[in-house]
Amino acid sequence: MPAIHLRLGAFSAALAVLAVTSSGALAQKKYDIGATDTEIKIGNIMPYSGPASAYGVIGKTEDAYFRKINAEGGINGRKINFISYDDGYSPPKTVEQARKLVESDEVLFIFNPLGTPPNSAIQKYMNSKKVPQLFVATGATKWNDPKEFPWTMGWQPNYQSESRIYAKYILKNKPDAKIAILYQNDDYGKDYVKGLKDGLGAKAASMIIAEESYETTQPTIDSSIVKLKSTGADVFFNVTTPKFAAQAIKKMAEIEWKPLHFLNNVSSSIGSVIKPAGFENSQDIISSNYLKDTSDPQWKNDAGMMAFDAFLTKYFPEGNRIDASVMYGYTVAQGLVHVLKACGNNLSRENIMKQAASINGLELGGLLPGIKVQTSATDFAPISQLQLEKFKGEKWELFGEIISGDVGG
């Protein structure tokens, strides 16, 4: 009977494999759907089309980084199979793509899906399916909620904690400030404003004398700047995305409005904001960051930056080096590789969340010196530290201590 022979053969082969692998006591293998001896299947959802398509480069960078990892032998001998789909930043499409990844492609987990509305749309689904929604690419505050959503974890510092840091600075150094705010009229802008108000506490009502909002569809924000100047404010809180930030800095120089200028870190890139706006117009702007600015000359000979450049040249030559999203994708992919390495041969979904929740003081090449990735069973906000910086000459000058601005979700 050939069938039985065959099975016997397979059985003895399995025994042999077992004998080889069980030689080490810790070598017991455990897999959930999406992981095998040779492969780890990872899902991702990005807005490659639609209004937020500029962020699509994050997915491309991650793809390139995993190609590098695979070329170097993979993670514990397993190659990464990175499946990234487009949702056009539309939540119903995100749900469709997430279900496709989980139920049809059968990925082990979904990594770094982008945007607050898309992630909100799939959070309940991912948690009911018990599939990790790991390191979501949004700065909203609500992702740090391990009690309600044990399968969802954030990544970057949230917007609210960043503006709380500015509020602290204002209260300490300019307690009688008259603050004018310009913000983008969406969740991102409103989160920043809320953080500032919470940080200023009872004094918020008297200190903030003007608030202007704009829509992303507006061609220019010049009139808002003129209006804010006329209020006589001496502190300007600039919550704008790169294109508008550069416009604002230019216009302020043009009409000679020189308040103490706080610029959100979304737009702190020298290459895409400061340089186009003009170095002479950008002196003394205060911002904060956790990533190294790729266009800042002070990191030229930094080991982390050199590794980043080597990666770009070899695996992602089409990537725009000065685009902050490229550095973002590179760093978060490194964070994931760290977690997967820590998982060893136990690639169950549960163990992935467990390892992701026990990162201790991880330093990555793209993070500012001293800023560490830190998680625990009750802290699902991996990066919550920032450092203040002031623009001097042609670079950001870091000052003060590294500040942790944790805001519970």
Partner: protein, 338 residues
């Protein structure tokens, strides 16, 4: 009427479709129905979910088809009605604790009222001007949903999470399968209603207005009433589709209902065949699956690939799926003749 106005209305007029050509024969309808009932038993939950979305968008496309194919009015604002329907269902379910099935008629009625009221000012506009007015509605809607004043109810930019219903009476089927059959039943009811509506007195009035407004009013048709009525019915059906969409996706947020949705629905109608109701499902399949196919061909150029595919469809079958169906019908006729 000045010469300019005349040319504008003429250019925008929809090609007349004979009443009979608006539906499928009984045999074909039955075959499609059997297929729709049987397929979910054989496929994965994820595909069932896609099929549910297919039916939901088909209902929304059908609603636009009644408006454009039936009464000859254009609308790029269907996403606004869809959003109102979705939010009505979501708010009633999550804040009011009302059963999901009961929220749908409410969504329909509210959207009917909303559409009827919007139809009033729209009466003065026709053709491209009407399309622009509805376009304004579609662009305004996501921002209105973000307004601080409604934030308690709408959840603002964060949106609202909706609970998915289980199958009732302990039926042994998954949530997805139950929702599919529930959606199928409602879509079927709406389809039958729409076919009968267009065959009724009101339907004939719609078509008379579409073909020639002046002649219609000379025949004693209350043009204003029927035009707004068409808007109301179309909005009401879109609202029901929106409600179903909210339940299936389990989430509503302003970014779900942008102008892109309105354009997709419009696209679905054209691809399906303007004025041909069964084409709605073909159009819906086009707007759901073709972007995925395009993405499969090239991630970076998915938009361009989609454009090329769309161009091919418009170039090869300008009358949409209806044209395809007619060709098939001729072929079958020839075969029988032999």
């Amino acid at each position: 009427m000045s010469a300019i106005e005349e040319t504008v209305t003429e250019a925008a007029a929809v090609e007349a479709v004979p009443k009979k050509a608006m539906t499928l024969g009984y045999g074909t309808s039955l075959a499609v129905l059997v297929l729709l009932i049987a397929v979910p038993l054989l496929v994965k939950n994820f595909i069932i979910f896609q099929l549910t979305m297919l039916l939901i968008y088909a209902v929304a496309v059908l609603a636009l088809n009644i408006l454009t194919g039936g009464s000859g009015q254009f609308s790029l604002g269907q996403s606004a009605f869809y959003a109102v329907g979705a939010y009505t269902s979501a708010i009633l379910m999550e804040h009011g604790g009302i059963n999901y099935a009961l929220t749908l008629p409410v969504a329909g009625v509210i959207c009917f009222g909303f559409g009827f009221l919007f139809g009033q000012p729209a009466l003065r506009l026709s053709g491209v001007y009407l399309a622009l007015a509805t376009f304004a509605l579609a662009t305004a809607m996501p921002q209105l949903l973000k307004l601080g004043a409604f934030e308690y109810w709408t959840g603002g930019v964060q949106g609202l999470v909706v609970t998915k219903p289980d199958a009732p009476f302990g039926l042994p089927m998954s949530q997805d399968m139950w929702l599919y059959y529930f959606t199928l039943a409602i879509s079927l009811a709406i389809y039958i209603f729409s076919v009968n509506l267009l065959r009724s007195r009101s339907g004939r009035a719609f078509m008379a207005i579409r073909d020639n407004e002046i002649a219609a009013s000379a025949m004693g048709i209350d043009v204003a009433l029927y035009k707004t009525l068409a808007f109301g019915v179309s909005a009401g059906i879109t609202g029901v589709a929106g409600g179903l969409g909210a339940i299936a996706v389990q989430f509503v947020a302003p970014d779900s209902y942008t102008i892109a949705l309105a354009i997709s629905l419009f696209l679905g109608m054209v691809v399906g065949g303007v004025g041909w109701l069964p084409g709605s499902i073909v159009g819906s399949a086009f707007i759901i699956f073709v972007p995925n196919i395009a993405e499969g061909i090239s991630k970076g150029l998915s938009g361009a690939v989609f454009g090329v595919l769309l161009f091919l469809v418009i170039f090869l079958v300008p009358h949409g799926a209806r044209q395809g169906a007619i060709v098939v019908q001729h072929l079958i006729g020839k075969l029988r003749g032999n």
